[in-house]
């Protein structure tokens, strides 16, 4: 599971990185808000842990920016101050949880585990990409025409929309859509990509699935 950590205090950053890696997360760590935003826009993360007070761009700005771009990755904010306003602003900006410093490492790890478990609940909304509207409630895919997707087709397209600014590969889809189901393999993924390509065409959408050695990406 991919985790993005943004914490400007060098020592704490190092301790947290090691702790998350020890728990089995694939960690990218940043020391300021700008770098964190750049990473979050480029890579599809499963969870983001972010300090509020950071140089260049604060955590709340990063968060608002991500949410405005439809990136719904769960975010936990670390707050130095125990001020209520700070926490309220963070939650209103789209944070899923917060933790006040100083905190117990055990609690942080437990909260991150809880957030990643909840991930499935984020898909109920309507998503838009190019001329497409994808309904998370009914699995209806709409452009000029409309069609109903199967659960897996929906999840593959959702992953592609949520990661629309970079390629995602078969491995990513196998772990995120098929939950590493042993009966699924790269052939399964490419068949579902093929279904999606044709269904995008069937709704007369201009959106295409681009295939490269780096994986798959949507194009308007």
């Amino acid at each position: 599971m991919k985790l993005l950590l943004a914490e400007d205090t060098n020592d704490l950053n190092r301790v947290l990185t090691v702790a998350f890696q020890h728990e089995g997360y694939d960690v990218d760590s940043c020391l300021d808000g700008e770098d964190a935003l750049k990473h979050a826009l480029m890579v599809g993360y499963d969870v983001i842990v972010m300090d509020i007070m950071m140089p260049k761009m604060d955590g709340i700005q990063v968060l608002k920016n991500l949410r405005s771009k439809n990136i719904i990755t769960p975010v936990l904010l670390l707050t130095a101050k125990s001020e209520i306003d700070d926490r309220v602003d963070g939650l209103d900006a789209g944070a899923d949880d917060y933790l006040t410093k100083p905190f117990a490492m055990k609690e942080l790890l437990a909260r991150v585990r809880a957030m990643t478990r909840r991930k499935a609940d984020y898909s109920k909304e309507q998503m838009k990409f190019g001329d497409l509207i994808l309904d998370g409630e009914t699995f209806e895919l709409k452009s000029v025409n409309s069609i109903r997707l199967s659960v897996k087709e929906f999840e593959v397209l959702q992953a592609l929309i949520l990661n629309s600014d970079h390629y995602i590969d078969g491995e990513y889809l196998l772990s995120h859509v098929w939950d590493n189901d042993t009966e699924a393999n790269v052939q399964t993924v490419s068949l579902y990509i093929e279904y999606l390509k044709r269904k995008l065409d069937a709704v007369s959408s201009g959106v295409k699935v681009d295939e490269s050695p780096m994986g798959y990406m949507l194009r308007c």
Binding site: T138, E140, V144, N145, S146, I147, R148, L149, S150, E153, L191, E194, Y195, R198, K199, A202, S204
Partner: protein, 197 residues
């Protein structure tokens, strides 16, 4: 004898028969060619008819047109109707391709309600051909699932009894149409995968 004299089609029934038979033969020739080439019959079933005297007159009245030979043969284009129900989506387009390229036929109207489904979910490929610059023929091409959907929709449509469930029924039929369309594409993709290996 008097029946022929009174017919809304005048003395043109044999020409209608002939044009219809010509297209049915063309479709069957193509069908056998595809069967030989790939082993599968692209057509599930093929229906054709000349609109009955009574239906044609009713249609004229409904449209406020005079019940004349000219209306039946020149203004209304479905005196002859052919419906081709195909197994797979691609088959629809293979047959369409053959029909629009026939040298003695002119395409008068062409509507792809598969790529651009009607608001209620109706999907079908519509063609009107003019055979030998003389006889109009309406051809509907669709898949089995599109045909199944149309059959049910037709039933409901013709009940004409309004109930409080109408909105629900309409939106549910639309959902079914979109699910069937999705399945049609998946089945086509699977068949292509089987043929490739």
């Amino acid at each position: 004898m008097s029946e022929i004299i009174n017919s809304i089609y005048g003395s043109h029934l044999p020409e209608l028969e002939c044009a219809m038979q010509f297209l049915v033969n063309e479709i069957n020739v193509l069908r056998n060619k595809v069967k030989e080439e790939v082993g599968d019959d692209p057509i599930e079933h093929l229906n054709y008819r000349i609109k009955s005297e009574q239906s044609m007159r009713e249609k004229c009245r409904r449209k406020g047109l005079p019940e004349t030979e000219d209306t039946a043969l020149r203004i209304i284009h479905d005196a002859i109707g052919i419906r081709v129900v195909c197994a797979f989506l691609n088959d629809v387009y293979i047959i369409r391709e053959h029909l629009v390229n026939l040298s003695n036929c002119k395409v008068v109207e062409e509507k792809d309600y598969i790529k651009h489904a009607k608001a209620n979910g109706y999907r079908s490929y519509h063609l009107v051909l003019l055979v030998d610059d003389n006889i109009y023929v309406e051809i509907q091409l669709r898949t089995i699932s599109q045909d199944t959907w149309a059959a049910l929709e037709h039933q409901i449509h013709y009940k004409k009894v309004k109930t409080e469930n109408d909105a629900l029924i309409i939106s549910e039929l639309k959902r079914c149409a979109d699910e069937l369309a999705s399945t049609d594409i998946s089945m086509q993709t699977i068949r292509d995968m089987i043929r490739k290996t």
